[in-house]
């Protein structure tokens, strides 16, 4: 218990996820000789990359206290619009822009009903799930459209070779972006005042951890040349961007605040409607993009593309420690949960364990993700000394909410 008091991060959900991830990786390595093979590590992402894209924005949606069930249908619709336009003889470039426009339209519709007409997002996006899929079926009926140009499919299928100059270029770019973010967001304020971002000077354990992670990252990058598809790198960049948006910008703080206490945020003068609208548009645009990537990967589209993906996506977000009621959760947790789910899937797939069993395992994990914190709370209620410590996260978020309402 003293240990827990001394290192509050030990109590965080992310820590448990990290432990689960390590266990999963360890079990995978010991059970399959093929697991720790660079091509397989690339496959882990490659085979679920479209879901991974949408997970990023779904986290923002759920933290904001809403849900978007329509993402898989938007993916299907954008892919179908692409296929339909392409089939009619449009160039692929214009077909892509039509597909993204379709995504934009879906997002605007979802956002309008939720934000401005105050209809619960569960209902709005359930309707979207049905309607957008219907639209896709109207466009393509029973046909399948393929034969997309090489450059399009190779984006999702071909391995990227990373040369040292590109690596340097990317590094410089990241540093530049980092500096810009630091200058023009509240990151500096956050770091200096320790306000919104719960970042503190890492202790010795943290330092070792960061060093190890950095080493692994560099090692992976060097190894990854010629193994990973371009989409995986795009995902890595998008992950960093969404991490930045959620944890370091004012917009990210509004998302938390509104998710925590919508009425309070409104009284404080936050533009709740605009934030919700933006989030739903982001969600649909990301889904549309993911739909295009799905088309590129399988090279052939029918109206049922990506059907049922929404449940996997929401599962990963919730497992990442994002509360279904909104207000809590971090991008780190979501990233870890994504890794846990993908690694478990991959490991079971390498052992030829079938879909039914895999679904049960992921389902059990999701239930545990809700039960464990509840149990922890119940146990701690009987241990008065740690009571205040247990509420730490909650306190911080309330504090954060107060602060951001004050600043606004």
């Amino acid at each position: 218990m003293k240990l827990l008091e001394r290192y509050p991060w030990l109590r965080r959900w992310e820590t448990l996820l990290f432990v689960i991830l390590c266990a999963a990786v360890f079990i995978n390595i010991s059970l399959s000789e093929h697991y720790f093979n660079i091509d397989n590590l690339a496959n882990i992402f490659h085979l679920s990359i479209e879901k991974a894209f949408v997970v990023l924005v779904m986290a923002l949606v759920i933290i904001n206290g809403e849900i978007d069930l329509s993402v898989a249908s938007v993916m299907g619709l954008s892919a179908s619009v692409l296929a339909y336009e392409f089939e009619k003889g449009a160039s692929l470039e214009s077909a892509i822009s039509y597909a993204m426009l379709a995504g934009l339209a879906c997002g605007l519709a979802n956002g309008f009903f939720v934000a401005y007409l105050n209809i619960p997002s569960l209902v709005v996006t359930l309707a979207g799930l049905i309607a957008y899929r219907g639209a896709a079926r109207i466009l393509l009926e029973d046909r399948s459209v393929g034969n997309f140009p090489e450059w399009f499919t190779s984006f999702a299928l071909d391995d990227v070779y990373v040369s040292i100059p590109t690596l340097l270029f990317v590094l410089v770019g990241l540093i530049l972006i980092g500096t810009l973010v630091y200058q023009f967001t509240n990151l500096r304020q956050a770091v200096e005042e320790g306000a919104a971002f719960r970042f503190r000077k890492p202790g010795p354990v943290g330092l070792v951890l960061i060093t190890v992670l950095a080493a692994v990252l560099v090692y992976m990058l060097a190894l990854s040349s010629g193994a990973f598809e371009a989409t995986t790198y795009v995902f890595a960049v998008l992950y960093l961007i969404s991490l930045g948006i959620l944890q370091f910008t004012n917009f990210g703080r509004y998302i938390y605040v509104i998710g925590n206490n919508r009425a309070g945020a409104e009284y404080a003068g936050l533009r709740v409607k605009q934030v919700k609208m933006t989030i739903f548009v982001m969600s649909a645009l990301m889904a549309a993009f993911a739909g295009l990537m799905y088309a590129a990967r399988v090279g052939n589209i029918r109206a049922n593309a990506a059907e049922g993906f929404e449940l996997d996506i929401i599962t990963i977000v919730l497992l990442g420690g994002v509360s279904i009621f909104g207000g809590t959760g971090t991008m780190v947790g979501v990233g870890l949960s994504l890794l846990v789910v993908l690694n478990l899937r991959n490991g079971m797939s390498l052992r030829n364990i079938n879909d039914n069993t895999r679904a049960s395992v992921i389902g059990a994990l999701l239930i545990l993700s809700v039960l464990i914190p509840n149990w922890a709370q119940t146990i701690q209620r009987f241990l008065p000394r740690t009571l205040s410590g247990d509420n730490l996260t909650l306190d911080l978020e309330n504090k954060e909410a107060r602060e951001s309402t004050e600043t606004a």
Partner: protein, 379 residues
């Protein structure tokens, strides 16, 4: 110089022609048992009885050929059909298996995966439902796809009689390549042959090989077409669900159900008159034959070339031929159909159960196979 060129030319021509000649004229290629191959049997979905039968057939051949390697049976759930199959193929490539036997959920979407499997040196054979020719070595066709259309048209005619009537099709998924080919063949027969003039195909609906969906689609058909007299379901899941729907609604005397079904699943409905006639081939044999062909190809004993003749254990001799239904594709045709009615369903349903126990060594089976061989030779 000219002589040299001529000699080279002759050598090249001989080199090209001779293996083909020897393969055609020589004795059928026989598998040499005991070679180690890890093979994946990948049907369309989990939880479909016919695919379990195919698995049994493959296991029978696996034991017969004394393959010390592993026979892996894996498939996606229906809601994850295409991405699931892609994932299993990619995982098989990672595991460096020697051969994959696929019943494909889509004609094109699996191509990138099956092609990269072939690049990795894995033998890819399709059965039950093919992928495009560039993504497979060859296809084991259960029956001739055109024949399926003919058989369905004949069953419809014999159920509806000379005066004909309205009928609808309840298929599997909209993208199942085998069902689509059969339906197309049926439509061609209806259009081109005057005998079937009185049969009117009013609609095609899709139950996604899901019992619930298929049941509901069947009910939907009754509502949409009051004059409907027959539901033709070219899928074992669909026909059972449709027959159950008609039985539950008490409509068996008005609307008949027919198509492709498993005797063991359909026996009750056939005896009750809900499904007076249906047809199928043996999936156990299909799995057995598929395993034999794949084993021969993966061990290098046989090349996937037109005209090559080989022996497939208890099922006799087969020949690789050009697939008349698909361009530039090769197939091995198993055939033929058995049509089940009230008179013969009893013994067939029983046979099937016995077969499960005895691993299919009845005399009747043997006769069936001889027939099969004759027909495939003729066709």
């Amino acid at each position: 110089m000219n002589k040299l060129r001529f000699l080279i030319l002759v050598t090249v021509i001989l080199a090209v022609i001779l293996p083909g000649v020897s393969a055609q004229d020589g004795d059928p290629i026989v598998a040499e048992p005991g070679q180690e191959l890890n093979m994946v049997l990948l049907p369309k979905t989990l939880g479909n009885a016919v695919f379990d039968q195919a698995h049994e057939g493959a296991m029978e051949a696996h034991e017969e050929l004394e393959n010390p390697g592993e026979l892996i049976f894996n498939a996606p759930t229906p809601d994850n059909a295409i991405p699931g199959q892609i994932e299993i193929i990619e995982s098989a490539i990672t595991q460096e298996v020697d051969a994959i036997m696929i019943s494909a959920n889509d004609y094109e979407q699996l191509l990138p995966s099956t092609q990269s499997a072939m690049e990795a040196g894995i033998t890819v054979v399709t059965w039950d439902s093919p992928v495009a020719p560039e993504g497979e070595a060859l296809f084991i066709a259960q029956v001739d796809f055109d024949e399926t259309g003919q058989v369905m048209a004949d069953m419809a005619l014999s159920i509806l009689g000379e005066e004909g009537g309205e009928f609808a099709i309840l298929s599997a998924t909209p993208d199942a390549s085998n069902q689509n080919a059969w339906i197309e063949a049926l439509q061609t027969v209806l259009e081109e042959d005057d005998t079937y003039e009185a049969l009117e195909l009013v609609d095609i609906v899709y139950g996604n090989d899901d019992p619930d969906d298929s049941y509901n689609e069947a009910l939907g058909l009754i509502d949409s077409y009051p004059d409907l007299q027959l539901i033709m379901a070219p899928t074992t899941v669909g026909i059972a669900a449709a027959a159950k729907a008609m039985f539950d609604e008490g409509l068996c005397s008005e609307i008949a159900v027919s198509g492709l079904g498993l005797p063991a699943e359909m026996q009750e409905f056939t005896e009750l008159g809900c499904a007076p006639q249906f047809a199928l081939w043996s999936f156990t044999d299909l799995g057995y034959l598929t395993y034999y062909v794949t084993y021969l190809l993966a061990t290098g004993a046989m090349e996937a070339e037109e005209g090559v003749t080989f022996e497939a254990g208890r099922m006799g001799t087969y020949t690789i031929e050009a697939d008349p239904t698909r361009e530039d594709a090769l197939r091995v045709l198993m055939g033929p159909f058995s049509v089940y009615t009230e008179e013969n369903i009893d013994e067939w349903a029983m046979d099937e159960e016995e077969m499960d126990e005895e691993e299919g060594e009845g005399d009747e089976e043997g006769e069936m196979e001889e027939e099969a061989t004759e027909e495939s030779d003729a066709g």
